[in-house]
């Protein structure tokens, strides 16, 4: 779809890019406040231990130390992500549950003193058995990591849609497989950091590198006991998030308490090692699947079990375990699906949400199994997918409605774009080609806490001089380009050039916005922005219509010019008034059309400052079954990828040589940004497929908590990537737009797995596909 747009769909340069290119853009560490104190955390060296005693006297006595706080000094309020699983205390009360669990925080005149004070805090521990795997945590007689969660079960899901057993009985082929993945780290380049300031007006201002200012505001208010209007969260530029920055951190809360206690600004920052310790990134997943098909390739049933190794706290984990099941409902017609999901507590850092939340490894195994089914039935993998794929208007067995779905266009685009027919089955030994598909939500249908709240609100103010507009939004620009997208949507809605829109974002004083997660901002905040823009335009045109004495329906604004339909209208009085008001200025309006500037100035003169608002929350969505809230969304993006790889049989080394990637984003708001999200997704998926694994020793300590030892893709690891943007036109999206940020990662891992299988014949059941793992598998395969 290519609508008749002036701004939407263009390749406008990002609003933030020039300042980011010169070093002028400010991140938390670049913003200093007078009188700052430095904060530091005491974190547990034990993965599991009772705390018998904490003595802070030596730390308190150290010159330069201003405050030391432990669980005794803060309210005993439990928090977390989902209210159904508030299982975290800011500081350990009587037990630590992972290496890195927070015990105390110190504020001092400088960081060195704060760190020294942390070392002087004496804690008496009584070690407890350490549970590092699902097997250990669920073993008979294993101690419970949380007393309120028997047998270390964080969450359990049982769902069945249709009649799976009956369907299997009718199938010609039943395929079974399993998969095991490792914990991934978010590896955003800017470590989390914050500064808290307590004013004499009773307002706590927290500057934080977060994806979710609203949720941080809410958590800080709840834990400190301040009310929401006494807590302001400000997000400056943020150096990436990808999910792990989507909740309040212990440093957000510690700095807040220390600022309240000392009355001085308190800065706290994670080191890179602490980023790994805090984690909240991708879970380790164990999946088992049984898939039934007819001999013509029709998919009939899926029986799916997922077990998530979750770490010490719930974080986003309930949502993760639901997503791991629900995101297999599409993009293929699958009439019968059963899901058994389990999330288990262990004595490791808590896992949470990361790009493609919960769905990535389930997708990897499912798509791998589809390739095996295709082979057993003598079908091309693409033919099997085309046969089963959903189309616009289809609803999955778990009630996800595909209000637009360019799945066919994506599949055909990667088939043609990769030269599939010329390559599949015709490549030399060691070379392989594989494909996979996927889909993802365009924003979670419900907030994290149960509420009828709007998911976002927007204010757009016309500049009083008429020169443009300013958008005020609490949404979170974290690098994905939301400021630019909202400015483009506002420009399109108001009818002015993109350059005339300024945007102020990431501040809870600007309203409500649930934040940058679940690929929600373009669709949801975009809706609210469009509504506010439409309203502002109507306000201006109402004044203009009165002034001109014509019906408002005859007026419109496009590209900064007032469009008047019907008979010519004399606007000389307005122009003359404007020119007289700006005597001596060099940029007087001219030409035979009235400008936005003149109209907006007139509207201000008649009505005062013009502020229009917009808001959005999704309509009631999805099914009534337990867990239906996870996976429902106003719209779904979908994608297909073809990967081409080479495998070195001597070393097990895999090289991804080429990715052909198609994604249906409904309507690109900014074409360059859509491609950029697709390319970034490929890189994160490639890292997870080939290298990324957070490793632990037997005591639960991370072995590779640095970007030197934890390998994320460098520029040299990246294949040539061809991006094809598909635009199906989403009826529930602003100007037809829906997600790209997370759906685009879905096919990457399975496309690589299928290409490796094509090259080697190996069905690999474990990521990352390190040379060692691949070499050993090749050796076993050869011997077999």
């Amino acid at each position: 779809m290519s609508g008749n747009f002036e701004v939407i769909g263009s390749r406008a340069a990002r609003k933030d890019a020039p300042n980011k290119s010169t070093g002028k853009a400010q991140y938390i560490e670049d913003i200093k406040f007078p009188g700052e104190l430095a904060g530091a955390l005491l974190q547990s060296p034990h993965a599991h231990a009772k705390i018998l005693n904490i003595d802070t006297s030596k730390a308190q006595a150290l010159p330069g130390v201003v405050a030391v706080i432990t669980a005794r000094d803060v309210p005993a309020v439990k928090y977390g992500v989902s209210p159904a699983r508030y299982d975290e205390n800011l500081f350990a009360v009587d037990r630590v549950r992972y290496v890195g669990d927070e015990i105390a925080a110190v504020a001092a005149e400088d960081l060195t003193t704060a760190q020294k004070a942390v070392e002087l805090i004496e804690v008496e521990y009584e070690p407890l058995p350490v549970l590092l795997s699902v097997d250990q945590a669920t073993a008979e007689g294993a101690p419970w990591i949380h007393e309120e969660f028997p047998d270390n079960i964080c969450a359990q899901v049982e769902q069945e849609f249709g009649d799976v057993e009956a369907a299997f009985a009718d199938c010609d082929l039943v395929q079974e497989g399993s998969f095991f993945s490792k914990r991934q780290d978010g590896a955003f380049i800017e470590p989390n950091q914050c500064v808290a300031l307590m004013g004499h007006d009773g307002v706590l201002t927290l500057h934080s590198s977060t994806q979710v200012p609203h949720y941080v505001q809410r958590t800080v208010a709840m834990v400190t006991g301040l009310n929401m209007s006494q807590v302001r969260v400000v997000k400056p530029y943020v150096g990436g998030g990808f999910g792990p920055k989507a909740s309040a951190t212990p440093i957000d809360l510690s700095a807040s308490f220390l600022a309240m206690k000392t009355g001085r600004p308190v800065r706290m920052a994670y080191t890179r090692e602490q980023v790994f310790l805090f984690s909240r990134a991708r879970h380790g997943f164990i999946h088992k699947m049984k898939i039934g098909a007819k001999k013509d390739g029709t998919l009939m049933a899926l029986d799916h079990q997922a077990t998530l190794e979750g770490g010490a706290y719930s974080s986003f984990g309930i949502a993760t375990v639901y997503y791991a099941g629900s995101l297999l409902g599409g993009p293929y017609k699958l009439p019968n699906m059963r899901y058994h999901g389990l999330r288990v507590f262990t004595n490791k850092p808590a896992c949470g949400a990361q790009r493609g939340h919960g769905g990535v490894i389930a997708r990897a195994l499912f798509e791998q199994q589809l390739d095996i089914i295709a082979e057993k039935l003598g079908m091309d993998p693409i033919e099997l997918r085309l046969k089963n794929m959903m189309e616009t208007g289809d609803v999955t067995c778990n009630d996800l409605a595909m209000s637009s779905l360019g799945m066919r266009e994506c599949i055909e685009a990667v088939k043609n774009g990769s030269g599939w027919d010329e390559k599949k089955g015709k490549l030399p030994p060691g070379k392989g080609i594989g494909m996979a598909c996927g889909f993802f939500v365009s924003g979670a249908g419900y907030p994290i806490y149960r509420s009828e709240t709007y998911h976002c609100t927007i204010m757009i103010k016309a500049d009083e001089d008429g020169g443009g507009v300013t958008v005020y939004t609490a949404s979170a620009e974290i690098g994905q380009g939301s400021d630019t997208a909202m400015a483009m949507i506002a420009a399109e809605a108001v009818g002015i050039p993109y350059e005339q829109v300024r945007i102020k974002s990431g501040d809870t004083d600007f309203g409500i916005d649930l934040g940058a997660y679940s690929s929600r901002t373009t669709l949801m905040t975009g809706h609210a922005t469009k509504e506010a823009g439409d309203n502002l335009k109507a306000m201006i045109l109402e004044v203009l219509a009165q002034e001109l004495g014509i019906g408002q329906e005859r007026l419109d604004i496009k590209n900064g010019l007032v469009k008047i339909s019907g008979a010519p209208v004399d606007f000389t009085a307005i122009r003359t008034g404007y020119i007289k008001e700006h005597r001596g200025w060099q940029d007087q309006p001219q030409g035979d059309e009235l400008t936005f500037r003149e109209a907006a100035r007139l509207a201000y003169l008649r009505r005062g400052t013009l502020v229009a608002t917009g808001k959005y929350k999704p309509p009631v969505l999805g099914g009534k079954y337990k867990g239906a809230a996870v996976g429902t969304s106003p719209a779904y993006g979908c994608s297909a990828q073809v990967a081409e790889v080479s495998v070195d049989f001597e070393t097990g080394q895999i090289k991804v040589e080429r990715i052909t990637d198609a994604h249906d984003c409904g309507q690109a708001v900014n074409l360059t940004s859509v491609e950029a999200q697709m390319q970034g997704s490929v890189s994160m998926g490639l890292g997870e497929a080939l290298f990324e694994e957070v490793k632990f020793d037997a005591q639960g300590r991370i072995l590779n908590a640095s970007l030197g030892e934890y390998h994320i893709p460098t520029v040299m690891d990246m294949p040539e990537t061809k991006c094809i943007v598909v635009e199906s036109g989403e009826p529930n999206g602003p100007f037809g737009a829906k997600e790209v940020g997370e759906g685009a990662i879905m096919p990457t891992i399975p496309a690589i797995l299928n290409a490796v299988r094509n090259a080697t014949g190996l069905v690999l059941e474990e990521t990352p596909l390190t040379p060692e793992r691949v070499y050993l598998a090749l050796k076993r395969h050869k011997g077999a």
Binding site: D16, A17, P18, K20, S21, T22, E29, Q480, P713, M716
Partner: protein, 158 residues
């Protein structure tokens, strides 16, 4: 050991500073000279976002002691634009969409600048080698490589 006075040239201007013996060049630039465009990402030379150009060669400024900068010439990201006019590399990064979160950008652009200073018309392989010490988690690097190619083309025409 107490603080020592050093003199160095930063972005063409001679500067003096009192530095601690264990202070890094990153800290000198950011905390003493107010050049916060140099980012502090890992502190151990893994991520490359603190990259600056020291006597014509890129270094991770977190791995250089401030005292080692005595008498030497440093280019930081603040030294590229002329007034409000962006350097061709900066312009190319903006236009190609090579910037997302922007935290790696200053280091990435400086690595690209050092590369083009030595190799004005680099091949794709030379570009990827030249940028291999700078991690980016957002972009997948494709548009960064394109930006460097675009800038190299434009700079050779100029």
């Amino acid at each position: 050991m107490s603080k020592q006075a050093i003199t160095l040239t930063v972005n063409g201007v001679q500067r003096q500073a009192l530095v601690e013996p264990n202070q890094t060049l990153t800290s000198l630039l950011r905390d003493e000279l107010g050049l916060t465009g140099t980012k502090h990402g890992c502190g151990v030379g893994d991520c490359g976002c603190c990259t600056v150009i020291l006597d014509g060669e890129t270094v991770n400024s977190c791995l250089v002691l401030a005292m080692q900068a005595q008498g030497r010439e440093i280019t930081t990201i603040e030294g590229l634009a002329k007034g409000t006019e962006l350097h061709p590399l900066q312009q190319a990064f903006v236009e190609a969409g090579a910037i997302q979160c922007g935290f790696c950008t200053p280091g990435m652009i400086l690595s690209a600048k050092a590369l083009l200073d030595h190799t004005p018309q680099p091949t794709r392989a030379e570009i990827t080698k030249g940028l291999s010490g700078n991690l980016c988690r957002c972009t997948g690097y494709e548009k960064i490589v394109e930006a460097v190619q675009d800038a190299a083309g434009k700079m050779s025409e100029a």
